[in-house]
């Protein structure tokens, strides 16, 4: 039942650069930046007024008629996941209930889903009338909320905000009845979800899995949280395009945004049956955790990044010499970039200076639980096209970050890509992909 090889057969992405993987990739190649001044709310009094907002869309256009009613229960995080999942399935050769009910070519019980999700923030405008009704003598009163405010909250309100609902909605739309999980490891959620989905296939519990993550971080509470934690840059409110500067000497913080990155993973043995085009093989994953009492950062030496990479190399039976490209987490937060760079260098040794490193958050922003999904989509596109676009906003590499950041576009055969991820709180992950057939 189990298998030894898991391949990627479909890609889906929503990002500040576009509503599809193709649009996102083209914009990355063109060096476009999706970071702008926030328009979803008035950011004038925030110390950071920037975000990566996704283009406008109508969610009804992305779901089958039969589930249109369910869109009322979708927070933006869920919508982003639904859109990216639809693209990934359509891009692959699998046909689910949502794509064409007459020609389904999968066994729903042998399909799994594993999506990374964030702490979904409430729409405060939706709650505000209830809050306003709970004010007594100029102050919010919990007693008044319980008595008068609460009943103004829409009955199914909570269901929009449970992180497992991303996987549940996508699962209902595509009739996925096999194993289902929702990884909540903040900015490394999608990396871990992809790793675990591959494990589910390898151990024989499913033949196909949708995996990745989605998160909508353009919300006043999220932005305030990042500002208070000094994770958001405050120096570029007038220069959004140069705001997010991973590994750059002038980096001053990250910029947060909305996104989703979801891929179709398949057991190689069964992928052939429906004529799947195979983008790449997922050959190794590794995981660890940082031990750092300053929970908002990873440990300064990046040891947990090192361990994750070493484990992934071991599982992939790949040596640092084989790696052609690294897509790092690279947030633009100087302490974390330095730690990640040290962690990568410790794992890859003298090969580090050779391997091109291409951080993408300067263009797509930091999309939280979606990061790993977008990174893997970008990695697959780079392999497919033999092309590593130039990194943006890394004009002078920061002291101590001894990485070979891609200065100019490289056109070359790419056989093997390493994606690294980590999060505040410390969890780390590494994923190694290989061009199929090698």
């Amino acid at each position: 039942m189990g298998c030894s090889r898991v391949v990627i057969t479909g890609l889906g992405a929503v990002s500040p650069l576009g509503l599809t993987a193709g649009q996102t990739w083209d914009a990355l190649c063109a060096g476009r930046c999706g970071i702008k001044r926030v328009t979803a709310f008035n950011p004038a009094r925030f110390t950071c007024q920037l975000a990566g907002e996704v283009p406008e869309y109508k969610i009804q256009q992305f779901v089958p008629k039969s589930v249109r009613k369910a869109t009322k229960l979708m927070s933006k995080d869920i919508e982003l996941a639904v859109i990216a999942a639809r693209e990934a399935v359509t891009d692959s050769a699998i046909v689910t209930k949502a794509i064409d009910e007459q020609n389904i070519n999968v066994n729903p019980r042998r399909m799994a889903i594993n999506l990374g999700a964030g702490l979904i923030s409430c729409d405060m405008v939706e709650l505000a009338p209830a809050v306003a009704k709970s004010v007594e003598q100029g102050q919010f009163s919990m007693r008044k909320w319980g008595k008068d405010g609460l009943e103004l909250v829409t009955p199914l309100w909570l269901l929009k905000y449970l992180p497992n609902m991303l996987a549940c909605h996508v699962g209902i739309i595509h009739d996925i009845q096999g194993p289902s999980n929702s990884i909540t490891c903040a900015e490394v959620s999608a990396h871990i979800a992809i790793a675990e989905a591959a494990e589910v296939i390898k151990r024989g519990n499913a033949d196909i899995a949708l995996a990745g993550g989605a998160e909508a971080k353009v919300n006043p509470v999220v932005l305030m949280r990042q500002c208070l934690l000094n994770r958001a840059t405050t120096k570029h409110n007038d220069t959004p395009e140069s705001a997010c500067r991973p590994f750059d000497a002038d980096a001053s913080g990250s910029v947060f945004g909305d996104g989703a990155g979801i891929i179709v993973l398949e057991n190689l043995d069964t992928a052939g049956k429906h004529g799947a085009k195979i983008y790449a093989e997922l050959v190794g994953t590794g995981q660890s955790t940082s031990i750092n009492p300053a929970y908002e950062h990873i440990e300064p030496d990046g040891k947990a990044v090192t361990i994750a990479i070493e484990k992934a190399l071991e599982q992939a039976e790949v040596s640092p010499k084989d790696i052609d490209l690294i897509i790092p987490h690279g947030t633009g937060i100087p302490e974390d970039d330095l730690a990640e760079a040290r962690g990568i260098a410790a794992a890859l040794g003298k090969e580090t200076s050779r391997i091109p490193v291409w951080p993408i958050k300067s263009m797509v922003s930091n999309t939280g639980a979606a990061c790993g999904g977008l990174d893997v989509v970008a990695a697959v596109c780079a392999m497919r096209d033999g092309r590593i676009p130039a990194a943006k906003n890394c004009d002078k590499v920061a002291d101590g970050c001894n990485l070979n950041i891609v200065r100019q576009e490289i056109k070359t055969n790419i056989n093997c890509v390493l994606c690294t991820g980590y999060t505040f709180g410390g969890q780390t992950a590494a994923i190694i992909l290989k061009k199929f057939g090698n």
Binding site: A44, A117, P129, M142, G146, C168, K202
Partner: protein, 440 residues
Amino acid sequence: MAYDRKNERVVITGMGIVCPLGHDVETTWQAILAGKSGVDKTTIFDASTFPTTFSAEVKGYDYCKYTKHPELHKDGNRGSKFAVGAASQACKQAAISLETDTPADRIDRKRLGIYLGAGEGAANHNAFFGAIAVGWDSANNQMDWEKWTDVAATKMQAMNELEQEANMPAAHLAMMTGARGPVRSCLTACAASTQSVGEATMLIRNGAADVIIAGGAHSMIHPLGLTGFNRLTALSTRNDSPQTASRPFTASRDGFILGEGSAIVILESLTSAQKRNVPILAEIIGYGSSSDAFRITDMHEDGRGAIQAMELALKDAGLTYKHIDYINTHGTSTQENDSIETKAIKAVFRERAKQVPASSIKSMLGHLIGAAGAAELITCVLAIRDNIVPPTMNLNDPDPQLDLDYVPNKPRKMPVNVVMNESFGFGGQNNVVIIRRYDD
């Protein structure tokens, strides 16, 4: 690709719990066998005007008693602090050293993982609601974000915001134990910690780790949690009798009771447990995960996903329904869950359905949401140890449609060797774990 199909046997070598019935395993177990209730008026915040005024709180708990370094956890959310206590007990039982600089437990830290079903931490609700109240421009029906920002920037606190993230309880346990192996956190609603135990079992079975600290930690007893569940009408509103409100499988059941806590089990490869010569409490032999793929608001009418999860777990264990001695049900005390779960058990257990005792400890403990499955798993281990099945309390008016043996109102002495633990999450994520008495 080198896939290490080691097929290690996975055993439980430590347990710890912080829950409404006690701050350790034995106290909790004795309370359950005595049919005590952990439910009472809500005190964490003023819930006196909410439709539901009671909950199952952890009371009088001090996390500082469980660590030499309380300063490392002082900002942790309630779930993280509960997890510190529960994990400390479990590590002690499994002889896992908390002296992270010089651990003398023969566990390679790169082979020590963490897998929690953990939930969000509570927001500072006064700041949250207070800022909205100031920012709301009711004349124009819109938020004045500048006003909101000025209040939020002074009232919201950086560390409280960070600690709301669901991955933070796992971060605290890493800090406490020095774990460097796979560390994951999942939140599949009410099924989260059964899923974490199941997935952690798979990681060990396949050789990705030797030891994993697994389980759950969660508290949704906060204003927005209570608001959300009350609006869903998922909670009991029997405000005049909190202790009898959780009454799974009765005709008069009217919803579940919000609880909180943390339950942690140490999962270990049999090879590692034998090498370290630590006592083995039980063996995990089966895990099944499925999705309903039906509706966001309802379970599948026939229990399709629940049945599939049970059957996958049995298949994984290499057993049939004939081998199960006891079912620890999800048994939430909602109309829907209890009737569909009963249907699903009947479909899987066929002619034996009415003979296999199937009880719900949520009748005493309330619903620990993300931590529920692991708390229930611990009672399954104790049921095997003591050959006694915990009761479903408050079962005085059985629902005539629900006719399984729910072990009403008092525990039952009987041989217990193989147990099935069931958890079903809102939205249709189902997880089932099977354990058995360890026998080499």
